[in-house]
């Protein structure tokens, strides 16, 4: 615990150091890296201890604020979120140290580094906080510092807009979390988690807490339709920041919900169903929007929504499992969800870093202007491909393991005796399969369009792999993708403590359940290693073939069309148009069509962009309404002193009459 505190302190300190360093962001970046790394090192021991042995530690000293104590603690749940958090943040710091030297970072990056450290500190405290007020404070610090990071380039109009949307979204979320803790706290003087008397399940209070928690934390996690800030904020943020935010910060929303669930006792069935519905809509629609977007970072943001959907599907089947009293299924579901949290943290971080590299080198995130980068930056390409494969849930990468567990839970659910559980499982299977297919489509596009084929514009003309500081984190993350993919059994065994905390099933049961679940994982590992061996054998066989060395280079077969130009290639939008066609109800894509009336049309342009459905048709109108009303009020306020005094008279008269008539 002391180590952890020390790490926390160092982290905070490094932030302030970064604030006071020299004008060139170098020293600042260095201190940030140092801070995050040392915090990681110092806290990893306790985290692993608590993860593996399921132990938990507490520490607290009183603050003078009402309801508040500086109560922190590490238990499997916290540890599970804390480790990837610190890991990813140190990697992002390393990455950023090079990235921030880009021409885009014209202004000095010290502030940015300061807020970076603040963000990491805030997230850490959120995860380990054991007191409502402390949690809220840390939560808001996290939100605000990330806001400042997002609006790093606040000269641009769209950046400011995105920042504002993000700010308001998170603030509204906080309002709900406010309520959650206020209700949970009951009427005792402190909001320590230990002091929360367990709300009886099924009561109205429990349901209220649940609903508010889902709305509050969901707005951070990005449940549809509370997700609107994601596709706005991520494209404009510096890439290592958006990697951090999408990789771990939105997961803290999930963490919050899980943490609240531990206070609520046995869940009724409809909670599970709620989660499954949320998961279904977020997953499918999220990936659909991802398919429709051309900007690579916007695409990644939407795919985060999708992955959050998958996670909540897992949580949902877990909850349903508990309420239908099928502990094994519950364990599988939660384990799958948690594993996917970890995995998404890894590969989404990786993908954002990759996208950042592309942005950094070419200066554009518009996929339709990119292409053929694989030859220019092979390492980045390989890493991005790894990320894409794992986010599409392809074995043997890590993405598959988590989804597999959720699938497994669902299949067991179908074979289980209770009807509602089977129905839930059907939904889960169907949506997971659909999501998987669409994700495959989406990321084969993301990778293929950006890195393969011919360059679509001259933006890619002189680009190369970035320096070590940017490359190293990506490589490490790709390694992790494979490692987690192969060590599925071990890692799932580590989840026991966390799962038991969420599901309320005692640890030994979880251990046995996960051991059972780890057998298939083991055989998957065996099989995939087998296949890899075989693949390499086939490859070498191919090399050994007689006339293989007679390898000739020709241009791509163009079916006799002589004057083929790169622009003729399929673009991201044309690639996905068959799929996106299926979701046209939500994807209101706007086309700027050329008017080709004459026989030989001249130069023309065709462009399409897909606005966010909910922002377009729900939130913007509401905001507009408020604006109108307010302007109306201000106009109608005459400013005549007579009227003002009339107000006073009317007030006193009404009050008197009211008083006497009462």
């Amino acid at each position: 615990m002391t180590f952890l505190l020390a790490g926390l302190f160092i982290l905070l300190l490094s932030g302030f150091v970064a604030f006071f360093t020299g004008k060139s962001g170098r020293a600042a970046a260095f201190s940030a890296i140092l801070g995050t790394l040392s915090c990681l090192v110092l806290s990893s021991g306790i985290c692993l201890d608590s993860l593996i042995n399921g132990r938990s530690f507490e520490f607290s000293f009183p603050l003078t604020l009402p309801f508040a104590n500086f109560a922190i603690g590490i238990d499997p749940l916290s540890a599970f979120f804390l480790l990837p958090l610190l890991l990813l943040s140190s990697l992002c710091a390393i990455y950023g140290s090079e990235y921030m030297k880009s021409p885009s970072g014209g202004h000095d990056s010290r502030m940015s580094w300061f807020f970076f450290c603040l963000l990491v500190t805030g997230m850490t405290i959120v995860v380990i906080a054991r007191n409502g007020v402390l949690f809220l404070i840390a939560w808001e610090i996290m939100a605000l510092s990330s806001f400042f990071l997002v609006t790093y380039e606040h000269e641009k109009r769209e950046v400011r807009k995105a920042g504002w949307i993000y700010l308001v979204a998170s603030h509204v979320g906080v309002a709900f979390i406010f309520t959650v803790f206020a209700i949970l706290g009951g009427d005792q003087g402190s909001l320590d988690f230990a002091g929360f008397q367990a709300v009886k399940s099924g009561t109205l209070t429990a349901s209220l807490v649940f609903i508010f928690a889902v709305m509050g934390f969901g707005s951070k996690a990005g449940f549809i339709p509370l997700h609107i800030w994601l596709p706005e904020a991520h494209p404009v943020a510096p890439s290592h920041v958006s990697s951090l935010m999408s990789g771990i910060m939105i997961k803290l929303g999930i963490y919050g919900i899980l943490r609240i669930l531990t206070f609520l006792g046995a869940p009724p069935l409809w909670w599970g169903i709620t989660f499954i519905v949320i998961g279904m809509s977020s997953g499918i629609l999220g990936i659909a929007f991802a398919l429709a977007s051309h900007n690579i970072k916007r695409l990644l943001a939407y795919s985060s929504v999708e992955n959050i959907g998958i996670i909540s599907l897992g949580t949902g089947i877990g909850l349903a499992g508990i309420s239908c009293d099928e502990p094994f299924i519950a364990i599988l579901g939660f384990a799958g969800a948690l594993l996917h949290v970890l995995n998404h943290c890894i590969f989404k971080g990786l993908l954002f870093l990759g996208a950042g590299t592309v942005l950094h080198e070419t200066g554009t995130g518009d996929m339709d202007r990119l292409g053929g980068l694989m030859k220019k930056m092979p390492f980045t390409g390989a890493c991005f491909m790894t990320g894409s494969a794992s986010i599409s849930g392809l074995p043997p990468f890590n993405g598959f393991v988590g989804e597999f567990l959720i699938f497994l839970a669902a299949f067991y659910g179908i074979t289980s005796a209770s009807l509602p559980l089977s129905l839930c499982s059907i939904v889960v299977i169907a949506s997971l399969a659909l999501i998987g297919g669409l994700a495959m489509a989406c990321f084969s596009k993301a990778f293929g369009i950006v890195f393969l084929g011919e360059p679509r514009s001259d933006k890619t003309s002189h680009t190369a792999d970035p320096g070590i500081p940017m490359l190293l984190p990506m490589i490490i993350l790709s390694m992790l993708c494979l490692a987690v993919g192969f060590s599925g059994p071990t890692i799932s065994a580590w989840l026991a403590g966390t799962v038991s905390q969420i599901s309320g099933i005692e640890i030994p049961a979880c251990r046995t359940g996960l051991k059972i679940a780890s057998l298939p994982l083991l055989s998957i590992t065996v099989l995939s290693s087998l296949l890899i061996i075989m693949g390499s054998f086939l490859y070498s066989l191919r090399k050994a073939l007689p006339r293989i060395e007679m390898e000739t280079k020709e241009p791509t077969w163009d079916c006799g069309y002589a004057k083929s130009v790169p622009r003729i290639q399929y673009t991201s939008s044309s690639f996905t148009s068959p799929v996106t066609g299926l979701f046209s109800t939500f994807l209101k894509t706007r086309f700027k069509r050329p008017a080709t009336s004459e026989t030989f049309p001249g130069n023309n342009s065709f462009s399409s962009e897909t606005p966010d459905f909910w922002q377009e048709y729900i939130f913007t109108p509401i905001v507009g309404l408020f604006k109108k009303f307010s302007t109306f009020l201000i106009r109608s306020e005459s400013g005549r002193i007579h009227v003002f005094i009339l107000y006073i008279i009317i007030t006193i008269l009404t009050l008197l009459t009211w008083n006497f008539f009462r």
């Binding site: 400013g639 005549r640 002193i641 007579h642 005094i645």
Partner: protein, 207 residues
Amino acid sequence: MIILLLTNFSLLASSRLDACIRIITFQGIIIAFLPILTVRETHIIFSYPPYLLALVILTVKGIVFPVLLKHTLRSVKVRREIEPFVGYGASIVIGVIAMTFSFWVCRQIPLHGTTLSASALPVAIFTVFCGLFMIVSRVKAITQAIGYIVFENGVYVFGSALLIEQSFLVEVGVIFDVFVMVFILGIMTFHINRAFDHINTAKLEKK
């Protein structure tokens, strides 16, 4: 009391500013005699505070205000209140309504013996309302000043009607208040007059 009522109504009705000033002077003089009446009621013959008070009020309300107001009036060269927000007939009607309201209000509240007279209270409240109404309904700054004075008279009547004992400080408060008010308003009108060429608060507004 009845006289007081009538003064109020005439105030509501009159359009000429100097007439208004004359009326409030008259009102002030009447009010000045209230403490003495109170003395009569409470049978404490030789207690000087009431007389002193009467004297002060006589000087302030009967002499200082009129002079000040006349001065301002002269300095801003307006004779009559033009274009009020509420016409004079309507003002009378509203006055009647206000009067009934104030009587109704007084019926709601339990009174006890020490009051000056049953009618004093409603009249006081009515005066207050008249004052407020003048402030709201008249355009000229100076008329509003007059209205404010009426308002203060009402408050004062109210006080002296209700509070027989040791209400000295309160009266001092009133005088202090009104005095300062007229002072301020005088300055104000002065400036307003300089800023524009006639006293019209409505024109002060932006846009």
